[in-house]
């Protein structure tokens, strides 16, 4: 199956990385999450409700809506925090990318482990800039806010093309499609990975290590 790939690029200041990434990732996950499924005996299911809340950014003139799930927020913050630290300490010139991949699991026969088949990948390329004075920072606040508005509109446009989405699973298959581990929301199965481009232009192989680890952990 073809995997849909979308790429977003943004330039931010160092302290804006976290909020910008969270804004984009949360917006994507808002669209790719449903309420918890409650299966009933007859093979039907009902869907719980999903709450949303607004988040104001401190370093960017921007507000975004996210799913009201603390667990999900924590997971995203953890991933974004790692990305931010990697960007800061890599010694690179501040270019990196973070990827949010939605996948489906396909059970394989023993001895092979389950396959993860991505069906949508969002890649956010980040370019960190350094600013000299407060005035530039203020301008950057507003500019990045406007850029993020554009990104959100892009995301929404893609979401509403109604391209491939996994079929709604039966009760036995639900863990192959959705992440049922959270208690208040049910996003599609996803994983987050990142890459830092060092100054030589070649990418560090954290992504590969991560993917291998994830595959083995399944």
């Amino acid at each position: 199956m073809n995997c849909r790939a979308e790429v977003l690029e943004i330039s931010v200041e160092g302290r804006q990385v976290e909020e910008a990434m969270l804004a984009v990732l949360h917006t994507i996950l808002l669209h790719r999450s449903t309420g918890k499924f409650h299966y009933k005996k007859e093979g039907t299911y009902s869907i719980g409700t999903v709450g949303t809340q607004d988040v104001d950014c401190d370093f960017i003139d921007f507000t975004y809506a996210r799913v009201s799930s603390e667990e999900l927020d924590r997971a995203l913050r953890k991933a974004v925090g790692e990305f931010k630290d990697a960007l800061r300490y890599s010694g690179s010139d501040g270019i990196g990318q973070i990827s949010l991949e939605f996948y489906q699991k396909k059970k394989s026969r023993w001895p092979f482990s389950d396959e993860c088949i991505p069906w949508e990948v969002w890649t956010i390329k980040v370019n960190v800039v350094n600013l000299a004075n407060e005035q530039e920072r203020q301008i950057c606040r507003e500019k990045v806010g406007e850029k993020l508005c554009e990104k959100i509109i892009n995301i929404v446009e893609v979401m509403n093309r109604h391209e491939y989405l996994p079929k709604m699973p039966t009760q036995s298959e639900v863990d192959n499609v959705f992440d049922t581990g959270l208690k208040d929301v049910q996003p599609y199965l996803y994983k987050i990975s990142y890459q830092i481009t060092d100054s030589l232009g070649s990418s560090v192989t954290t992504t590969m290590r991560r993917l291998i680890k994830d595959t083995l952990a399944l």
Partner: protein, 525 residues
């Protein structure tokens, strides 16, 4: 076409579309007014071809100018998708559309404006059916298509057209400016509008807290909600005295709003803030207070003899108020109250029984007790999304103490409390003592606040029999010393001209003596 869709699907589709128009799938708390309006506009019908459901967002300033900011449009066209499953795909896609709507609403320029609405302007909404009217959006407006959902009966499209030319706004300075006298814009209903449907305010839900800085984030998952049109509080504002910084004297000046009571929920929590002189007895010892300092006290209508200091965390400690006494000619008095944590405010124990004059706070009359001395001043509660008007009014430095009590509101001057520092020996400044007159004749010149009139001057520490000259007399005499002659204007003007004329001569003389000067300079080196 109808026969192609079985009745159950048709019912489901209608239900979904109707719910989408109102609310859908997400835990969205309904704001009853908005639901009511939407239902009224829908009037039992659904968006259909040629009959779109439009929501118009506009801004209206306190001067009455208005401007359309956005128009959200739910349209139906004839392009059908017969294959689609109503109860499953359409449902999911409509719910996705609603999430997209939530995301997009935070992204348009009007959102930022709506977060800052308050005194200068308010945001209004209007729901109508029919043709979309985009003409009010000015030139170069942008359109965002939020999404489309195909159904067997047609394709539903949700789009937003928003104004980008906000030049009108930028000239109007919608930044934070402190209102001199607060004008409270109450519920702003404007009718009738050209399209004959009334505008309604978009108000943000109040958080019930006073910290306007923290916008209320809606709570947890299953319960939570947000809506496209959030509501703000009606424009009641309550200032709270932020007593966070007690280490240093809080020269926080707050403006006072004397607003007629609106019969609101403030019946039991009225706070008055008043500029007052903070005696150094409080142990703060600020010598550099160039101007008087705020004190805020409150009045509890339920317990008229209690003073409540608002803004204290966890509630408001009642403090017994003190009986009145008249002080100055202007009958102003102020009672200091002690919060229970013993913070800055010292218990005021104005030495009692000296003055039997009482001033009843009749005009505010909430408590109705003759012993209520504090002016009941309404302060504004800043709503959650209201840009908190600056609660610090800078006062010009004053030569004459308490000149700022110059009339703000003539009719209430009788009731203006003023600082009445305790008449205690450890009061440092002699000036303080001057304010506390014992058995003052209390001439009721309450209405003349142009000059600070000291009726009787009894400075502390001074006793007539020790000093040949009374400290008070000394003070009075030298309070307004005459101008230095060299600084007086007349002489100055004349001599200036003379000086200028004589400059060349002086220069010539100095040039002659250059050698002497040089020798002098060398001796210094």
């Amino acid at each position: 076409m109808d026969t192609d869709l079985n009745s159950q699907d048709r019912k489901d589709l209608d239900k979904f579309i109707k719910f989408f128009a109102l609310k859908f799938n997400l835990a969205i708390k309904d704001i009853p007014e908005v639901t009511h309006e939407a239902k009224k506009a829908l009037a039992g019908q659904l968006p259909a071809v040629g009959r779109s459901m439009c929501v118009e967002i506009s801004l209206k300033t306190s001067e009455g100018d208005s401007m359309e900011l956005e128009i959200w449009c739910l349209e139906m066209n004839e392009k059908c998708d017969k294959e689609i499953k109503v109860s499953y795909t359409v449902y999911n896609r409509l719910s996705l559309l609603l999430k997209s709507l939530l995301a997009i609403t935070r992204v348009t320029p009007a959102y930022r404006l709506s977060r800052k609405q308050g005194h200068e302007y308010v945001i209004l909404y209007r729901i109508y059916f029919g043709e979309v009217q985009l003409s009010g959006l000015g030139e170069g407006f942008q359109t965002v298509r939020v999404g489309t959902v195909g159904t067997p009966l047609g394709t539903i499209t949700l789009s937003c057209a928003y104004r980008i030319n906000l030049a009108f706004i930028s000239t109007r300075q919608f930044e934070r400016t402190p209102p001199i006298m607060g004008i409270i814009i109450d519920h702003f209903v404007d009718r009738p509008y050209p399209s004959s449907s009334p505008m309604h305010p978009c108000n943000y839900r109040t958080s019930g807290e006073e910290n306007g800085a923290a916008y209320p984030s809606v709570e947890d998952s299953q319960e939570v909600c947000t809506t496209s049109f959030s509501t703000s509080p009606p424009s009641q504002c309550v200032f709270t005295v932020t007593k966070a910084h007690f280490q240093t004297p809080p020269p926080v000046l707050m403006d006072t709003l004397k607003v007629p009571m609106m019969g609101l929920a403030f019946s039991h929590q009225l706070s008055s803030s008043r500029i007052s002189y903070q005696p150094a007895a409080l142990g703060v010892g600020s010598a550099d207070m160039g101007y008087p300092v705020i004190f805020a006290g409150g009045l509890n209508a339920a317990h008229p003899h209690q003073l409540i200091v608002p803004g204290k965390e966890g509630g408001v400690p009642p403090v017994p108020s003190q009986p009145a006494h008249g002080t100055q000619a202007d009958h102003e008095r102020m009672v200091m109250c002690t919060p229970l944590d013993g913070a800055l405010y010292s218990a005021a124990t104005p030495s009692s029984s000296e003055d039997t004059e009482t001033v009843s706070n009749s005009s505010e009359g909430k408590s109705g007790s003759p012993h209520n001395l504090l002016e009941t001043i309404f302060v504004r509660k800043v709503g959650a999304f209201v840009n908190k008007p600056i609660n610090q009014v800078t006062m010009a430095s004053l030569d004459i103490p308490f000149a700022m009590f110059a009339p703000k509101n003539v009719e209430l001057e009788d009731n203006d409390p003023m600082v009445n520092p305790p008449d205690s020996p450890d009061v440092e400044s002699p000036l303080q003592g001057s304010l506390h007159s014992e058995g003052s004749s209390g001439s009721s010149t309450g209405n003349t606040h142009d000059d600070f009139v000291m009726v009787d001057f009894k400075p502390a520490f001074s006793k007539d029999d020790i000093l040949p000259m009374d400290l008070g007399t000394f003070y009075r005499e030298f309070q307004n010393p005459p101008q230095l002659s060299s600084l007086s204007i007349d002489i100055g003007a004349q001599s200036m001209a003379e000086d200028l004329d004589s400059l060349p001569e002086k220069l010539a003389v100095h040039e002659k003596n250059v050698k002497e000067f040089d020798a002098f300079v060398e001796t210094l080196q």
